[in-house]
Amino acid sequence: MNPTRTAWLFLAPALTVLGVFFLLPVIAALGLSFTDYDLYALADVRNLRFVALANYWSLLQRPLFWAALGHTVYFVAVGVPLSMATSLGAALLLNSPLARWHGFFRTALFAPVVTTVVAMAVVWRYLFNSKYGVINTVLGHFGIHPVDWLGDPHWAMPTIILFAVWKNFGYNMIIFLAGLQAIPPALYEAARIDGASSWRQFRHITLPMLRPTLVMVAVLTVSGYFQLFAEPYVMTEGGPLQSTMSVLYLMYDEGFEWWNFGSASTVAFLLFLVMFAVTSTMLRLVRRGDET
């Protein structure tokens, strides 16, 4: 059999799945976003009309879309740095030659990553319960009054951010740990002979050597955090006062509660554009930093 044919036969199942269940729907989503596909079109496709950019236009004028985008950006802007700092701190501690019970700590810190978001969000809801929750009980010992974590529009998103950091930091911790272990020990030895303090070693050896890993992790975490959905769905149902309504939650609501597939596809595409703009700007800034 000729080699090209063999290769395509081996690729066929995977490419078919990706083509039919991903590529085709993505193209169709772009098409849908230019139509008024709704419950009537779902019943009879002859009710479908082409509306050009009308969905985009009306969405950009809807306060709820901007609110959802604002909440999502808040979640990303606070959650990503907090997550990454926690991951890096944990990785540095684990990588320290002074650390004991290495394997045990690594396993314990990583455990939240493999748990199910939905299940742990349910647990979190009770931990942060305003009346009987463990968190308020502990804070009460320090004389802090009970906080209505998930019932107060100002606290609901910070609580979800804390949950996300707890749930996710272990993943990046492992990636940072691999990055730290790849730094040649000779660099630190030389610095120590020169009398450099631990802080200066961190600042001038660890951070620059870790830079490619940091950039990759930042981009991946930002794209991941833009896709906020299950946490508010389970913990707050988007409330209170829609303060935890994310862009994907809005897409889900538009699409599968109201069956407005046209405008839901528009929401999806706008989210994609925002994510693309943010991550490519990040990469461009990094590249410019490299040149100077």
Partner: protein, 273 residues
């Protein structure tokens, strides 16, 4: 600072961090063994006064949890088996079989990773509806049968297979399928284990797509069943904690048993990229 103090500080911080990471899991387990309404008391109890399995009995006998558990096993198991096969074949082809446009094709697959999966979900729902696959196991399984990440992981690993080995087998007259099954697959065993754990965990924990495509409770997986129970039984803390234990425990045990493979794969997938 004295070295002793630094050592105490490092290990103290690690211990504190580990405690925060594990506490919600232990608390969930503890409350799941309490009698109904026992946890809603002040001061908040940390341990059950008399441990009981009543909540688990209620879940399995009356709340349909056994059914959700079987659905989860069936769906995640099928996704793992099928996507393992397809990703292995494709990853091997990209790594070791020469054909025109191989590199460009692979690069455009990686490029497609910037598109969030949710963009495809609305038309995918309509597509599956036209096939009559909404609210079926197949509706969850089919779209998950291949992942670009899986292909990438296999390709990275398969590039280490020496070409001479494959050429020698071809000269001996071995067919391509024989080479793949008898020579390549045994060499790929470590990455197979890693990818299998990865895929199973992802499928088990997945929420948004199953929520969309499974419209009736009959095919609900554990996360869906739990989320819908949590909306009905918001006040039954102990019951909900038992439900969370049932959902989390299988993947947690799987991870603890095979964590070496899992963590290695995580590093392979990230650092070498």
């Amino acid at each position: 600072m004295s070295p002793r103090l630094v050592r105490a500080l490092v290990n103290g911080l690690l211990l504190g961090g580990a405690a925060v990471a594990v506490f919600p899991l232990l608390w969930m387990l503890s409350v799941s063994l309490m009698a109904p309404a026992e946890s809603a008391a002040l001061p908040t109890p940390l341990l059950p006064s008399h441990a009981t399995l009543d909540n688990y009995r209620t879940l399995f006998l009356r709340a349909g949890m056994a059914h959700y558990l079987l659905n989860s096993l069936l769906v995640s198991g099928s996704i793992t088996a099928l996507s393992l096969l397809f990703n292995l074949m494709a990853g091997y082809a990209f790594a070791k079989l020469r054909f025109a446009g191989s590199r460009q094709l692979f690069r455009s697959l990686l490029g497609a990773l910037v598109i969030p999966a949710q963009v495809a979900m609305l038309p995918l729902f309509l597509l599956l509806k036209s096939f009559g696959l909404v609210d079926t196991y197949a509706g969850v399984i089919l779209p998950a049968m291949t992942t670009v990440f899986g292909i990438y992981l296999v390709r990275q690993y398969a590039r280490g297979i020496p070409d001479e080995l494959l050429e020698a087998a071809r000269l001996d007259g071995a067919g391509e399928l024989y080479i793949f099954v008898r020579i390549v697959l045994p060499l790929l065993k470590p990455i197979m284990v890693t990818l299998a754990i990865f895929t199973f965990l992802t499928a088990w924990n997945d929420f948004m797509w199953p929520l969309i495509v499974l419209t009736g409770q009959n095919h609900y997986t554990l996360p869906l069943g739990l989320a819908s129970l949590a909306r009905e039984h918001a006040q039954d803390t102990e019951l909900m904690m038992a439900g969370s234990v049932v959902t989390v425990l299988p993947v947690l045990v799987l991870f603890l048993a095979l964590q070496r493979h899992y963590l290695q794969g995580l590093m392979l997938g990230s650092v070498k990229g």
